[in-house]
Symmetry: C2
Subunit: 102 residues, 2 copies
């Protein structure tokens, strides 16, 4: 349905850029706290749905998240495995720092 980069297409600068936005970082933290992925609606980040869709697209195209269909709605989840392979340790340290800062 939508574009996801292959694991080897994940670019460091794209990922860093995706994570450098406070709203997207909140989304990622939110996703990290959920095993099964979240419906877009379950991400209460206080922006309009078009803006949320935009941020999810940025995250998806950077390779940070995966979106899959589940019935009538999309489930968004972190690509922890692919990120760890391409950028080992990065997601963990970002999440750790984000948790500490909060």
């Amino acid at each position: 349905m939508v574009r996801h980069p292959l694991p080897e297409e994940i670019e460091l600068t794209d990922v860093l850029h995706a994570l450098s936005d406070p709203i997207r970082l909140r989304i990622v933290r939110n996703l990290a706290a959920s095993d099964e992925g979240r419906c877009c609606n379950g991400l209460s980040v206080g922006v309009s749905k078009s803006t949320l869709s935009h941020h999810l697209k940025v995250l998806r195209e950077a390779g940070v998240t995966r979106t899959r269909m589940s019935g009538t709605q999309r489930l968004v989840s972190l690509r922890e495995d692919d990120l760890e392979e391409r950028l080992p340790g990065l997601l963990a340290s970002v999440l750790g720092a984000a948790r500490a800062a909060a």
Copy 2:
């Protein structure tokens, strides 16, 4: 002489944003390969000196680098210790991924 954030003022999103630019990432990789810091001129990244000055300012104000005088010229170096304290593991994983991608 110039503004450097205190260690506790270093913000994750600022650091991620600073590192998400390819030119700044090259500068950081370059600095990581040098013990003593580099004169701005020693950073051959192929931009004009005003642009270089701008990027160094972004890195400095995000807390990624430190600039100190040495005689008549400035020496730029990574704030590895402060970054490790505030954002443990982040710089290492970014540098590791950047090295792997190159």
